[in-house]
């Protein structure tokens, strides 16, 4: 099998993790270093082994980009809209509480993904009802109220 260029990123990420944890580990007491040191050495060793395997594969079979296979049929706009909306949803939950951002988030995502309006309404009602009855009533989970809403209520 050819070496994938995308795997260079994997190797670099693992080395970065090892470096990051090692930097913080050396500041710890000697006895607290034992297990983190063991895991860092393990990850470093395995990553190096993988790097060697990659080099051998590159010499034997050549190199390919890997991007095509990893991101085949990747819908860039759709993916990033969903990702950004999810992050925004998290921020809004923190500020405005659970229910209003949830309705807006669900409606926005489904409208963007071209779900018919009737289905959007049914889905939102079902999910909100499920959360209200299953989590809030049955399990007694207190859902986020939101910092702004809390301040306004005061």
């Amino acid at each position: 099998m050819k070496m994938k260029k995308t795997d260079i990123g994997v190797v670099l990420f693992m080395y970065f993790v090892c470096g990051f944890f090692y930097y913080h580990m050396v500041k710890l007491k000697a006895s607290s270093q034992t297990y983190p040191r063991f895991t860092i050495v393990l990850l470093f060793g395995l990553t190096t082994l993988y790097l060697i395997q990659m080099v051998i594969a590159a010499k034997k079979y050549g190199v390919e980009s890997g991007v095509d296979s990893v991101f085949k049929d990747f819908q860039t706009a759709q993916f990033f809209v969903c990702l950004c909306a999810t992050v925004l949803y998290l921020i809004c939950i923190h500020l405005f509480g659970f229910y209003i951002p949830t309705v807006i988030f669900m409606a926005a995502i489904m409208l963007y993904l071209k779900v018919p309006p009737l289905y959007i309404c049914i889905t939102i009602v079902v999910i909100i009802a499920l959360i209200y009855f299953a989590f809030q009533k049955f399990l007694g989970v207190k859902l986020p109220v939101g910092t702004i809403m809390k301040a306004l209520n005061k």
Partner: protein, 516 residues
């Protein structure tokens, strides 16, 4: 012996309480819905529902998770039969014969066969769960600190090796998880380690990591693909039943597949996706009507479905006794067990035996619910399987958010879940193993305590890690664990090739659904 029998009896009495029965029905229905939707997996469903079990009694919580697990494995067959797309990889072989039967107007018969065989496969697998679990659990009484260290590594080598495309990448994922498990207060001296804030004092929340790695990452996988309209599920009008003769025909197939599925389940690392093809192939080999294979054989459907459901009971054995889950779903189930404050091993069959036997009894009863709900609700579930990804994306996201928030009612839990969702997505894109990370987060603290206590007892002498026979057995098992993927991959490839030979099926199409 009498003690065990009385525990079994008491277990059934507890399991038959109204709340447990209600939860079984809800869990099975939820599992079937998750299983029949291509793109959602059993592990994802169990991870998503994990927070709902926090406030329940331990046995009820475990019964719900077990019900979702069994329901999801069976649910995969509905879409496999009606729309030729297996809901989970465990039903890939079912699609071969099941869809042919649908084309011939025998969808009802195919669904009945799947449900009936799944029921027997699952039910018979409970026998081994009852009888082998206590025996294996006793073995762990011999374990000391050093042995626990090696056991944690063995668990990782198995899951990291078998469920990854590359063994080294699987092991790298496990090592990454071990490293992440060191975040938080040192379990022995209480020193702060790698903690950006005091929120991480107790380490990374395993449930949030589970939901992120299995469920949220799946949302991103769905979001990156073009939203396609699912094939319309075939409406069927034939009766959902089998004649006495047909039932007699599939009986030996079910028994053979039960044995295969059960053994595959007990073997850590092998899963339902391998079992379904092996069950299917064996039914083909022993069939008196080989000409029907590829043209809609009920024996083929029975062979595959009995085998994949027989895995469920078997796979719980190493999970509950040794703390070594063989696949993603059981890794999540083990997370559920630990969250309830229970540790796999002899304690489950001693101090917590009533709870364990209630769970076992619940697992038996779940099979009956699966049969009833499966048969009655097949038509409805078939329509649900058409649910578009465009609807699933926001729904699963919201459930991930609520689920992770429900744990400590802390927004930071959602942040951790989302971070692990992104990490899980990237890991899956680059063929790293998310199940290994989860398992490492669970096993990491056990391994650390084992290593530190062993070294403390020997004044830092590393030879203590190699001082007993059990240690050496576990070291050898670790080596076997690393080498086993070579054997398992060959076995799976061979079984898949044999299954599709002469059927005109496209293997890649059957197994293309991206599930954890």
């Amino acid at each position: 012996m009498l003690d065990t029998l009385s525990l079994m009896g008491a277990g059934f009495l507890n399991a038959l309480s109204p709340i447990n029965l209600l939860m079984m029905a809800a869990g099975v229905a939820m599992g079937i819905v998750i299983g029949c939707m291509p793109g959602l997996s059993a592990a994802m469903g169990v991870a998503l529902m994990l927070p709902m079990t926090f406030t329940m009694k331990a046995e009820t919580g475990l019964i719900v998770l077990g019900a979702i697990y069994c329901g999801a494995i069976f649910g995969g067959s509905i879409s496999a039969i009606l729309i030729h797309t297996p809901g989970t990889p465990a039903s890939a072989a079912t699609a071969i014969e099941g869809y042919q039967m649908t084309l011939q107007g025998k969808a009802g018969k195919a669904l009945f066969t799947a449900c009936y065989s799944s029921f027997w496969g699952g039910l018979l697998s409970c026998i081994s769960l009852y009888f082998f679990s206590p025996l294996l659990a006793k073995l762990t009484l011999k374990f000391m600190s050093a042995e626990y260290f090696w056991l944690s590594l063995f668990g990782l080598t198995i899951i990291a090796g078998v469920s990854s495309k590359s063994v080294i990448k699987g092991l790298m994922s496990g090592a990454l998880g071990l490293l992440l498990s060191t975040v938080g207060l040192d379990p022995i001296s209480g020193v702060k380690r790698f903690m950006p804030t005091s929120y991480f004092a107790e380490g990374i929340n395993t449930t949030c990591a589970l939901i992120g790695l299995f469920s949220m990452s799946q949302v991103f996988i769905l979001a990156e693909k073009k939203i396609k309209e699912r094939a319309r599920a075939t409406k069927f009008s034939d009766k959902m039943s089998l004649t006495r003769e047909e039932r007699r025909t599939i009986r030996p197939t079910i028994i053979r597949s039960w044995i295969i599925g059960n053994l595959i389940g007990i073997l850590p690392g092998a899963g339902a996706s391998i079992a379904c093809f092996l069950g299917y192939n064996t039914s083909k080999q022993f069939s008196k009507h080989k000409e029907l294979f590829g043209n809609g054989s009920i024996e083929g459907v029975a062979g595959s479905e009995a085998a994949n459901n027989a895995v469920t009971g078997g796979s719980l054995i190493p999970t509950l006794t040794l703390g070594i889950p063989g696949e993603s779903v059981t890794a999540v189930l083990m997370g559920g067990l630990i969250i309830q404050g229970l540790t796999p091993g002899p304690e489950l069959f001693g101090k917590y035996a009533p709870m364990t036997y209630t769970f076992f009894a619940g697992f038996v009863l779940v099979q009956f619910f699966m049969l009833g709900i499966g048969l009655l609700g097949c038509r409805g579930f078939a329509q649900i399987s058409r649910l578009s990804d465009a609807i699933l994306i926001p729904c699963v996201t919201v459930l991930c958010f609520v689920g992770s928030y429900a744990i400590h009612k802390n927004i930071m839990d959602i942040v951790v879940m989302l971070s692990f969702g992104v990490l899980g997505y990237l890991m899956r894109k680059f063929d790293l193993n998310t199940a290994a990370v989860v398992l490492a987060l669970i096993l990491g603290p056990i391994g650390e305590k084992g290593l530190r206590n062993a070294l403390r007892g020997s004044q830092g002498d590393f030879r203590v890690l190699f001082s007993s026979v059990v240690c050496w057995v576990l070291i050898i098992l670790c080596v076997i664990g690393i080498l086993s993927p070579i054997f398992m991959n060959r076995l799976e490839k061979k079984a898949e090739k044999e299954a599709i030979s002469g059927t005109g099926e496209d293997l890649e199409k059957l197994t293309e659904e991206d599930s954890v």
